[in-house]
Subunit: 297 residues, 2 copies
């Protein structure tokens, strides 16, 4: 939000959550509280704001469950309806968050937008892929510029605690062992602040179609978790090989970022070490706050 | 509707049109008037009927305009929402109408469901294709059996007058010349009564995934229009070559019907001659009625 504001956009930010402030906030955005799954709220918001640009991230993202939930279908419906309303009220450019799970994971690899086969195996991946297909054809028909950012693996502050980086960070910060698989799988990790910056750069460009959002520098899971544990000061607590390999897990899921680098003109600001350091610092503070509360109770 | 009724289904038929009868009609169906684009009407209908089987044809079909209209996007939304409601209220099997325009038309050919590339070039084709993708993944996840009938070229009574068969029939029945292109293009034509019967057979089967709905016997446009004019008693009024070829028009768009014949166990009841005779008879009656009205005015 801040990045958009600094680029000169009048930023209207939408959240369904009660915790969000309404009106203009310190980050420069005008915040709206609306549930985008609610047809009337959705339409009223677009009619009120009449945005020229749309950056659409809202989706169902409950850890684990999101891969197979029927909520994915609801978000296809809501996203298409949002796009139509956007187009009817003067919208000019839309950028939507997609996923690396749109690609064929059966063999893994380094995915290139224009040439890697799309063969999503989950309802989540299929739903995102289908939304992109309709959004692009609709945009071409209506003269609305559309781009689609395929997000790979992101980590950062405020992550759900069951996810990889928080789970390892919290375990070792608490002095517990962090059991992992062999860790030889290669993945493309990007800090959330860089993922956000990539989307802002994409929105601000005229690039259309699918663009991988990644670092372009795959690392092994082993390297990642060892970095987390090292930043937490407990490298000895990582137990590689303690968990079995997941059946059918692809060896490599990584992003060719030629489009992002050369066409959008963007590259990450944080190294993996810097990003992990920020995330671990945040988890350390969370645990300290929760310890202090526990001590005072 | 009658075919379903005769197979023993309790048939609930839905139309948004005012002309339809409400309640039980002579065709054995219980007719409901509802606009499936209306979220509340849609949900109320499914809650009331709680269908076990769904045969979903409703879509935007305005001649010419349907290829590019934003209404296609609305029908993706409405169809997904209908499917979700169907699944939530005990639905077990859904069959949805797709289109041969989901296939790659750039080179044309005889399309096979499992192997022909899907590369729709219109918002209509993209929207249908995207709906199928989500419906199949959702069905697999929810344990709901789904099939998808890819309709090729249909003709019959009650066709919109701008379409090929009515346009030629009405011209020559009125003694006017019927200008056509060279007519060498091959297409797969099926009478609407056979298309309906194919869908009923598909619904009544356990076949899942995409199934071409066609005759499997491509004919040239020239052969078709000459048959229409001959049935109308005016073969000399067809002017082949009077219209230019449409740029980029594929030579052959035809259906491999192996799945329909061997897995569903269905084949057409009417020959092309019989089907065209029925259609021409109907158009002749329409013109006679309208002439009689004109005479009385």
């Amino acid at each position: 939000v801040e990045l958009l504001y600094r680029r000169g956009y009048e930023v209207h930010a939408v959240s369904s959550s009660e915790t969000t402030h309404a009106g203009r906030a310190s980050d420069g955005a005008i915040w709206h509280r609306a549930d985008l799954l609610d047809a009337e709220a959705r339409r009223a918001l677009v009619e009120q704001v009449r945005p020229t640009h749309l950056l659409h991230f809202a989706w169902y993202a409950e850890h684990g469950d999101f891969w197979t939930s029927t909520e994915n279908v609801r978000w296809v419906e809501a996203s298409l309806s949002l796009l139509r309303a956007f187009g009817e009220h003067g919208g000019r450019r839309a950028v939507i968050a997609g996923t690396c799970a749109e690609y064929d994971w059966s063999s893994g690899g380094r995915y290139v937008e224009a040439s890697s086969p799309l063969e999503p195996r989950t309802l989540y991946g299929v739903s995102k892929d289908a939304l992109r297909r309709v959004a692009e054809a609709w945009g071409a028909e209506r003269g609305i510029s559309c781009a689609w950012g395929r997000v790979f693996f992101v980590y950062g502050e405020r992550e759900q605690p069951q996810r990889l980086v928080p789970a390892v960070a919290r375990a070792v910060l608490a002095g517990q062992p962090a059991p992992c698989s062999h860790g030889r799988q290669l993945r493309d990790f990007l800090h959330t602040s860089d993922a956000a910056a990539a989307f802002v750069a994409l929105l601000d460009s005229t690039v259309e179609g699918a663009v991988n959002i990644g670092s372009g520098q795959p690392v092994s899971i082993a390297e990642l978790v060892q970095l987390v544990a090292a930043q937490a000061g407990r490298p000895e607590l990582v137990c590689l090989g303690a968990l079995p390999e997941r059946p059918g897990e692809p060896f490599e899921l990584s992003a060719d970022v030629t489009r992002l680098c050369e066409e959008v003109g963007w590259s990450p600001k944080l190294t993996l070490e810097q990003g992990i350091a920020r995330a671990v610092r945040w988890h350390r503070r969370c645990l300290e706050v929760s310890d202090a509360r526990g001590g005072a109770a």
